[in-house]
Symmetry: C2
Subunit: 216 residues, 2 copies
């Protein structure tokens, strides 16, 4: 295979957008899609798209572009979205419930097998088809279900303690939706999703826009 030296996180983050575009293309019945087209659709540079796609190992055809079906398969395989991963969700509040209802995840191999919450009135109920269990069963539940991913949507003050329980129970990956930076062993994979950081960016862009307009 050709040796590919590529930017990492930024490229990986862009892959789902590519996948989205390419899927639409597949719906149209086009057998090939060019990096140029993808770039245009997403307001990116064509060279960036080509570089990013290279990490999946896919080979394009000059003049035509990339074979749509193979490209989708390559991206999904690279992301591991072609096999299923058992997940549990901790904290069935507003955000947690919303995430349970997100069908897209299932499409990408993420199976939320159970949710856990401290609120006794929720326990036993189902939200979007997922049964809510008591937080006291968390450790046993994780082992029973052989879950590898935990989606963490508890209130921030409980984030660290919950994470420690998760690690004890053998969870290897945590998708952290709290605004707490978790202290966990190095071998645990943590991905933090931070709405505040996006909102901060939006806020600053809004201010820049205003000064830009005033400067006219």
């Amino acid at each position: 295979m050709a040796k590919v030296k590529v930017s990492f996180a930024p490229s990986v983050r862009r892959l789902p957008s590519y996948l989205h575009i390419i899927r639409q293309c597949q719906g149209n019945g086009d057998p090939y899609i060019s990096g140029t087209v993808i770039a245009q659709e997403l307001n990116l540079e064509p060279i960036q798209v080509r570089k990013d796609l290279a990490i999946t190992g896919i080979i394009g055809k000059p003049k035509k572009g990339y074979p749509v079906d193979a490209l989708i398969a390559a991206i999904e395989h690279y992301l591991g979205w072609d096999e299923s991963h058992e997940a549990i969700l901790v904290g069935a509040g507003n955000l947690g419930s919303a995430l349970m209802g997100y069908q897209e995840f299932q499409l990408h191999g993420l199976k939320i097998a159970a949710a856990f919450d401290t609120d006794p009135s929720k326990v036993g109920a189902k939200i979007h088809g997922v049964t809510i269990r008591s937080m006291t069963e968390l450790e046993v539940g994780i082992k029973d279900l052989k879950a590898e991913i935990a989606i963490l949507t508890v209130p921030s003050p409980f984030a660290q303690a919950t994470a420690e329980t998760l690690v004890r129970a053998g969870i290897s990956s945590i998708w952290n939706f709290t605004n707490t930076k978790l202290k966990v062993p190095d071998e645990i994979v943590v991905q933090r999703e931070d709405l505040s950081s996006g909102y901060a960016l939006l806020s600053v862009m809004m201010q820049n826009r205003k000064t830009r307009i005033l400067a006219k």
Copy 2:
């Protein structure tokens, strides 16, 4: 003021995490906090924290650190979080409802004045204190409320059309939670929040972890 050449988006994105730590410090009654401490807490390099804080214009004291109250004020002012912004939310589904319940936003000046949805059974109801109005009132509603921000949580297929209505109604900033890249005029500020990109990163890290372990 000292001239500060700084990385932009990444620095801005980190500011809310700093704010979170510094607030805790304020709770403890500490009058000063050092960049070193913040860095330790977030697993960052001290120099990075100092560089980031410099963009807010705050001046630290050698040996002591930054004055906590002034630092909080400086970050909030830089982000524009010290004044309120009227927002509306479009698409009161799972995610939309969750966002309406997110108190943290109000704390940072984001006021969701109304929500809009196509579902007649939702119209008139309140979710987390926000009244749901009919989508047909969207344009008038935005003008009435003098909203500047629209939080877009409609199903992806409706994202582009809805965005166009928003722009027509005079919205200047869109916080886009759909996985559609919006085509809007340049002067409109758009911040896209993309769960798939975070999940992609988590997925790849999980695979790398496995190969790392197998390599042992």
